[in-house]
């Protein structure tokens, strides 16, 4: 069936190079830092040296007097309106006004004729601080006598979520086996190579324009208007090429954006600000460090009956999207395993650290690490095979989970079996030589989320008289390949080639409004909207062609840039000729519109109940590691993965997404993590914050991934999520592999060489040599 489908399509399913790849290969893609405008000034930000302090006074006179300086702004230049992501957690300010809550928080900004002058001017701004007691550990921050960061947040509770699905008490009472474990995760950074960069212009008519590397420009659009206290109609966000995002600061309006436009207002010039990598690593937006307590009850055959999760997330100084982050962690307890009853209690706590938000996989990544690590322990205790316990608990297509996820396609069993086959699991598990081991891990993800806020997508398509297609959406390509996948969908419907489609980057003055790029929603939501818009355009063209050919519109098919009468193949007209005729003779503009909202249902955030996403995908992987007993270093020598991404529209891009997500998890598992002492980041540099390199991945022959192909009826051409889910099971697989290699069970990330050495030595001191 799948081969048949593939042959039925002329564009979909063909490995297709990314549309903008040539431009990028030649260094011609313009990123925000590449923008130069006449008269443009350069800005720099002054940051708090204290983790928590009251700002007594700021004197900018000396800075303003420095030759070359054009303007200085402080919090007092803004209206004092707080902005943020979720309506009940708006706690950001464009610049701090009376209090700084973490070391690195933005306090003032300078615009000057060049970056060096702006930097010099920062030293001349005199800020008097009154240091306040600070708290860095979330459990300490919850003490009643801990310093409180935000007036409205007692015990520093930034957000909390609690829900229960199924009958938990009955489930746990029925359990024949119960175990509880605690897992801890670390602060991980996005690690994109392009630092945040923005150019702001506040023109004399009052229009505010921001050119910036945003993943979700419409979120920025609203937040900028909110924080500036101006009408939305006066704000325009122009998306530049995005040099990697992975969520975080490129999702939201940041102080850098506010300062670019406010410095422009003061100077009448465009102003550019670019973070240094030191700033990127110091400031907010990172993966939530979590302490996850997980208690699971099963029957004697390892079937899960009840799962109870208590979680504390170290949120840092501000909310970002943290309220949703802890909601999602609990929701994701419901897949990819059948858990008949779930109890969940979670707190996100304010501390005087850089703040946390979303990062590829969001909080699903931490949950998957805990759950699949524990599942391996349960299997070992009960004497059940690692693969068998996963099969026994695997969610099946057509299931409805206790919290109301309606599972459509879900080839989880097939993914598990595929990995067993690819990895030669049966021959390897438990038989590899000393210091070598193999581990299994599984995960899953959503294909976009239906939330109470903005969830739906729209698309517009114009077809020009030369037969080219102008596709505009509010979704962004951030490297993941949305430009190509969405263009492929339009090309398929209109019978043209991918190269005939022009994909527009977002400009809030002209593109359709859209939530943006996150939650693996773009191919699914925007893809469906594009398909509908293309069908609308096709219908309009078919009517014109039918008139021209004297045929019935329903008899016409679009192939090879032509419109052909199915009943009489001699009757045909070039697509461009039909469009031109319609325009010249009838004044018709081919303008197709489409939208997708994944139904009317929204999830109830309070109860956690509802069908969060229109589709879900499972993934499985096996990782083989080698541990060096002399250094504790863990080397990943083999990786075999499988996931059900539905029908891959662009297999070349799916491969890149899956492997990219996988390798990011290698870093998360083994070495990445901010080291913080009293709120100060000690490794704000790629020199000391280590990310995977070319030499850290297995040889190509031992690095394999396969899609188990399903055709998701709700997805565009059967497609589902691809960019995040595949990475979620990887960390547990690595932990399980290390256990297989040396009998060491890591419950805390990252599993560094130092940590491995310490544990090996501890075992040796206790007379327990690593397992053979």
């Amino acid at each position: 069936m799948n081969e048949e489908l593939q042959s039925e399509y002329h564009v979909i399913g063909r490995p297709t190079p990314k549309k903008d790849a040539w431009l990028k290969a030649q260094g011609r893609a313009e990123y925000a830092d590449d923008i130069v405008m006449p008269g443009m000034l350069h800005g720099k930000l002054l940051r708090s040296p204290h983790p928590h302090a009251r700002i007594v006074s700021i004197d900018t006179n000396r800075a303003e007097a420095l030759p070359g300086v054009r303007a200085v702004v402080t919090g007092a230049d803004f209206p004092g309106h707080k902005y943020g992501n979720l309506p009940n957690t708006r706690d950001y300010l464009p610049l701090a006004i009376d209090t700084v809550r973490y070391l690195g928080e933005e306090v003032a900004a300078v615009a000057a004729i060049d970056e060096d002058t702006a930097e010099d001017a920062l030293d001349l701004i005199e800020v008097e601080y009154e240091p306040l007691p600070a708290v860095f550990d979330p459990e300490e921050a919850m003490d009643s006598d801990a310093p409180q960061l935000h007036e409205s947040a007692e015990r520093n509770i930034s957000a909390q979520t609690a829900f229960e699905f199924g009958d938990f008490d009955a489930g746990i009472a029925k359990a024949e086996y119960v175990r509880e474990d605690v897992f801890e995760t670390q602060p991980v950074k996005h690690g994109m190579l392009e630092p945040h960069a923005s150019v702001g212009l506040w023109d004399s008519s009052g229009k505010v324009t921001l050119w910036s590397c945003k993943m979700s420009p419409y979120v920025v659009w609203r937040q900028l208007a909110m924080g500036l206290g101006i009408d939305l109609g006066n704000v325009r966000i122009v998306q530049t090429f995005v040099g990697g995002g992975f969520s975080g600061g490129k999702q939201e309006a940041m102080p850098i954006d506010f300062c670019a436009v406010m410095l422009s207002k003061k100077t009448g010039r465009p102003v550019k600000l670019v973070h240094t990598m030191d700033e990127v690593m110091t400031i907010g937006h990172m993966r939530h460090p979590m302490k996850i307590w997980l208690r699971t009850g099963t029957d004697k055959n390892g079937r899960i009956l009840a799962q109870h999760c208590k979680l504390t997330a170290n949120g840092g100084a501000y909310s970002s999207i943290g309220g949703f982050s802890i909601f999602l962690a609990g929701a994701m307890l419901n897949i990819p395993y059948r858990v008949p009853s779930v109890k969940y209690e979670a707190y996100r706590i304010y501390t005087n650290n850089g703040f946390c938000g979303a990062l590829r996989g969001h909080t699903n990544t931490q949950i998957c690490f805990a759950r699949d690590s524990q599942l391996e322990l349960i299997a070992a205790d009960l004497g059940i095979d690692s693969i068998e316990i996963r099969h026994r608990n695997a969610i099946q297509p057509g299931d409805e989970t206790p919290n109301g996820f309606r599972i459509g396609t879900f080839a989880f069993d097939e993914c598990i079996d595929k990995v067993v086959e690819l990895s030669d699991w049966r021959a390897k598990h438990g038989t590899l030589p000393k210091y070598r081991g193999i581990g299994f891990g599984c995960g899953s993800h959503i294909s976009g989320a239906r939330l109470m806020g903005h969830s739906a997508s729209a698309a517009e398509i114009r077809v020009q008289e030369d037969g080219t297609v102008q596709l505009t959406t509010g979704s962004t390509d951030v490297g993941q390949g949305a430009d190509t996948v969405l263009s492929m969908i339009a090309a398929e419907v209109l019978g043209v080639e991918v190269d005939d489609v022009r994909f527009a980057r977002v400009d809030t003055d002209s593109t359709p409004v859209d939530p943006g790029t996150f939650g693996s929603r773009v191919t699914f939501f925007t893809g469906n909207a594009v398909k509908q818009a293309a069908e609308d355009a096709r219908q309009q063209i078919a009517e014109m062609a039918a008139e021209r050919l004297n045929a019935a519109p329903t008899d016409l098919m679009f192939r090879g840039r032509e419109i052909i009468n199915r009943r009489n193949a001699d009757q045909r007209i070039a697509l461009k000729d039909a469009v031109r005729w319609g325009a010249f003779q009838k004044g018709r503009v081919v303008a197709g519109r489409g939208s997708y909202a994944a139904g009317d249902e929204t999830i109830d955030v309070k109860t956690g109940r509802g069908n969060l996403s229109p589709a879900y995908n499972p993934s499985a992987c096996a990782v083989e590691v080698e541990v060096d007993p002399a250094t504790g270093q863990v080397t990943i020598v083999g990786f075999w993965g499988a996931d059900d991404s539905g029908f891959p529209i662009n297999p070349l891009a799916v491969k890149g997404q899956v492997i990219g997500a996988t390798v990011m998890s290698f870093g998360h598992a083994l070495y990445e993590g901010l080291i913080r002492i009293d709120g100060k980041v000690m490794n704000p540099s790629f020199r000391d914050y280590k990310m995977p390199l070319t030499t850290d991945i297995p040889k190509l022959a031992d690095f394999q991934h396969q899609n188990v192909i399903t055709v998701e009826p709700e997805g565009p051409y059967g497609a589902k999520e691809a960019g995040q889910g595949a990475g979620t099971g990887v960390i547990a697989a690595i932990a399980n592999a290390i256990y297989d290699a040396i009998g060491l069970r890591f419950t805390r990330l990252p599993m560094t060489s130092e940590a491995t050495m310490q544990e090996l030595q501890r075992l040796e001191n206790q007379g327990q040599a690593p397992v053979e």
């Binding site: 030649q26 830092d33 090429f241 040099g243 070349l652 390199l693």
Partner: protein, 169 residues
Amino acid sequence: MNEAITKIASVDILLRVNGVQNDVSIKPWRTLLEVLRETLALIGTKRSCGEGQCGACTVLVDGKPINSCLYLAVEAHDREILTIEGPVDGDPALEQIQQSFVEKGAIQCGFCTPGMVIATKSLLGETPKPSEDEIREALVGHLCRCTGYVQIVEAVQDAAGQLGSKGGD
């Protein structure tokens, strides 16, 4: 900028970039990256970590890959510099490498791409048939957060194969 520093005289140097001679007058502390981007408007070379860790700013100086963020422009005086924009009269090897990167899916966000492509050009100039390990070693100074490197290594293998079958460059 403080006055003592401002008074330091600019120096005149000759930058031979992509076959074009550029006379530039710059402060002696300017890095090659700054001068390429800001003075010569060659923005293809990317500014990322600024401390020689990520490789995004890699250019070739007399055929050798260097991190232009750590390399003073004055050091490049009268040397042959190659950036991602390439020679005005074309460079078949560079174009093949770019083609392979495009076709093999080695490019996502594209921010590491100029450095990766330039480093590959240097590698294949010296080692026309690199082993997989040699490719990894040659690119170990280049971070890519998007691809997980697999398709990049495949692109380099493809470029080596294509150039080899064409009789090299």
